[in-house]
Symmetry: D2
Subunit: 337 residues, 4 copies
């Protein structure tokens, strides 16, 4: 960290600041230039309150020169992490497709969809038992019963399951779930993240609607610092001024996250775009840009879906998407040989 | 709600759509114009999945013509709500100042600050016992002990207290708290909102960093629909492309929320700007634009604050802000006579 | 257009509104429902001031049900437009790669780069003669001399040239240019757009940093309404809260624009990301998502470039990108057969 | 400027970088720490390509430690600038109200409005002769005739006039205009800014919809570096995800700009909010936060305005706003005594 002082500081001011910084536990390295005086801080910077230092009277600005996350940082873990998700590997060249309905509605619905997505090549089954909805008047999910239905579908198809948690107190219900999803609106629910760090299971962490990639990595850090290294990052669109799509899919997040972190990165084209006709082109682009997987909403009867029917693919459309994604994956792969 | 069909639909398509809409429980009113065919929906629209209808093949677009919230809606409750916060009224002409430290650090700290803010005219005391932090390595709050310290300060000064909750499971600790705050990052933690709806106490609901005013009202609706009408809305800055301030304070949210809803609206200039020197001008502007209160961070020793020291006012600076706010309040008030 | 009235309007108010709307030249169609009264407007709606109607006392809201652009609208021109850019076709299945330096620096520089990009498969040469820079102290371009250098490179390599215009008064200098580029900061320089509408040449219109896709199409409409149908749309990243990349590349803009309009859509990964190492993955994704072309910055000596050196590819890196793009293009193409 | 190197650089790499930086004209000051090596750059940094340096292989990051603007910078001009706008002073404690119609429609309209706003206390008259419109099908202004009408109104009322320019080639028509306005969409039309720098007249420079305050100051710098110190900055709302208002008024821009620059800062509540009922509260808040003036749209017949009628005040409403603004101004003023 570098502290830049205001022009022509008095020596007494500089001395007081250095003393105060030392008192806070930082080593200091003062460099007096013609135009400016700079103090380099030495020590563990992950917990520095930059805004506070910036507000001190003699200080002009403070610049961070290293990332505030450690466990998620590729600098300290150069190889790609490969996460084992119920026997299926994600990351480090392993590409997976997670598919299923937005919300679990019935035993029949989930089984029908599970069979379809497995036949088309999906390797994990998703479905919402606890479903966060903007309106209290919308369908709120089957909750515990929903998880049981997913577990039955897993038993029948062999597909590991991914489902969302909304509150740490529900954790006991997730004992047999393979991957626990944290939704975009809970990305900074720090009590939940800490609890998931203790849970040990793979966590699929979705980027918040208005969160930077650094904040996403800081939330991963919460889970990892609590002892759980199995975090899968998920880009699902961010909120911008554009209204033509539900969110703006930030696909360059994939290579940026891969550079900053060793964790696998998947993309959720269904939520990012909000419209089923956009799912195929964005899925293909996700595969092309190097994502470690995609997560898609598939429904046996979109017009009667209780949640997000507009963005759900029919089973037939899902087969079509899988074909295109596979073709692009092999083109990108062979081009890299 | 209005459903606009694609150009020149076939009669059979229109009939199928009308039948399907009726099956979903909506009355319909078909109007065939020269250029377009429109179907008006009749009934309770608070639970309609607009995106789903929009995705149907014969549909071009869907437009909502009434708000999806009821309890928070001024249309159904024309008078301003006045919330009783531990004996202090907020809303409907009652302006209150909530002040105190970002986080509770010690008994001595809180008592010293409480006395100061009371002397300067604050009417509620704030302080964080549970403090959400972006980094797992930052100070995380004194938790239960912090609430006890606040309650002691309340006993001593008579100021009702406001403090943040981070998880529904902590609710028993908040039994004697006067106003429970929901932080920006939890604005769409729907499990927490529902639990707070059952708690009955006044809730101070902060707008999320990237949430629209309609979403803020929908989150208020979650609390109100669960039986708690005592919601205080709080504008605290939104996330934009601008980096000169920590967030962008959206002051026009105050009159817009007052028009849409009967709930009181306060402003948090400290978090919105992130810098103490900006707190005075934005506090004055908040009073001038008609806020029902402001919430300010005050610290006895900002350079040693464990959280957000950069935006905390000293006690002396808080007196200065109070003077300016009072002067502007009386100017706006007498101008309206 | 639909005008929704406030609840329970008086008949006299409705009559006055209808009379006023008729006076403005619109036909009207009043529909009185149980909950709301709606007036449908009939006629040419491209020039309606929706905000004004919305502000009338009896009006609750106004909803547009058709797009405000005509010439650019796919509804009235279902086939893809194919633009002839100096003998090279763009759109309707014709994919082109435009490459060259950010700014023209010297005859030698441009010739060296032109030969390289042609050898690697680029089909148009780009280079800035007039270069818009945020700072008045940055290199501002060789201007007229720069255009002459580009024309010489065209004569030597046969590559048609693309270069940016900054002011309508410079148009005579662009007489032999094949494609005139409008930069993001000039997307709503309406005087310039109108002048380009009269120029007849192909126009490469870049999306503004904070402009919606509808606004981009309205700016295309300015050019087309002035008599020039040869508009190529260009997605180049938008401004969001994220700071990890220079801009946020909105790749889903490609399929959305293709659905709304018949005009070709290309992508500029260099400006969207601002970093050369991100150009390859985003170029590949652009091809995968169905863009009609990409525009890339290539420099013979990036560390000494006078403009945007950080995002420029070396010639060697450009060959690598071309290989990957070609592989993905053929994968997507054969998958669609 | 500070250049931070990657961890453990080789000495040869550092030497090459230093040599290259010297070659570019910068002095260097290398500081080797335990964790990182930092190079401080010495000299004129206003023209550095930070992105380019950041892209060099051995470089991890580059941080600017001084602002890239000089003429507009308060560091080099500590006193407030006071601009003489046709005999009326703006800035340094001089508060002015600019009022008039969005667009000049007729001689009678302008005269009627001019008399009204003068009677209510406005000190400058605004009106659009050249009016930038998103749609080519909207009213585009009376152009030269509009300016003549404004000049007649000036002759009759004595109010100096403010009107917008859209293209440098129109400058001769602005010879008798007192203040030339640059619209938000032209804030980075650098050819226009340069031409206005040579024009000498006061320039009212509006912030672009998605431009940072630093970019606004850089555009002011273009005008000032070309020889014209008379720049008035104008906050008029920025583009965000919120749709409840036309734009999001960023009122904290006023104190931030006052800290960074000596130039006067005014606010345009009409365009920022887009709705006339929001103009009064935001005008009052603008005065309270310390703006040097406000610019308001007033129309004698808003329902028949050819442009932006929804945000125009009637003459009667303007009187009301003026009263409230005056009351708040004197409250803030006396509080500061």
């Amino acid at each position: 960290m570098i502290v830049i002082l205001k022009q022509n500081p008095q020596q007494a001011q500089v001395d007081r600041l250095v003393a105060w910084l030392n008192e806070q536990g930082y080593g200091t390295n003062v460099s007096v230039g013609k135009q400016e005086t700079i103090i380099g801080l030495i020590g563990d910077m992950s917990n520095v309150d930059m805004d506070l230092i910036r507000s001190l009277e003699v200080v002009d600005d403070v610049k961070r020169i290293s990332e505030p996350y450690k466990n998620a940082n590729r600098k300290f873990h150069t190889d790609d992490s490969v996460i084992d998700a119920g026997g299926v590997k994600i990351g480090g060249g392993h590409f997976q497709v997670i598919a299923g309905p937005c919300s679990v509605e019935s035993r029949e619905q989930v089984k029908e969809i599970a069979k379809c997505v497995k036949a088309a090549g999906a390797t994990l089954l998703r479905g919402g038992a606890f479903t966060p909805r903007t309106s209290p008047y919308s369908f709120q999910g089957l909750r515990e019963e929903g998880i049981n239905i997913l577990l039955e579908a897993k038993a029948e198809t062999g597909l590991p399951i991914v489902t969302e948690i909304m509150d740490a107190s529900h954790l006991p219900l997730f004992a047999d779930v393979d991957v626990i999803q944290v939704g975009a609106r809970n990305m900074q629910n720090f009590e939940l993240l800490r609890a998931l760090g203790e849970a040990g299971k793979p966590i699929l962490l979705k980027r918040g609607l208005a969160n930077t990639l650094q904040e996403l990595l800081m939330s991963a850090e919460y889970i990892m610092a609590s002892g759980n290294p199995n975090v899968i990052l998920c880009e699902r669109g961010i909120r911008t001024f554009e209204t033509a799509t539900r969110n703006t899919l930030d696909l360059s997040a994939v290579p940026v996250l891969h550079r900053l972190s060793h964790l696998p990165v998947i993309v959720d084209p269904s939520h990012a775009t909000g419209e089923s006709w956009l799912v195929k082109p964005t899925s293909v682009a996700s595969a092309a840009i190097g994502a470690d997987g995609i997560m898609l909403e598939v429904h046996n009867d979109p017009p009667h879906a209780l949640c997000d029917g507009a963005q759900a693919l029919t089973c037939e459309a899902f087969f079509d998407v899988m074909g295109a994604v596979t073709a692009v994956r092999s083109a990108v792969f062979s081009a890299e040989e």
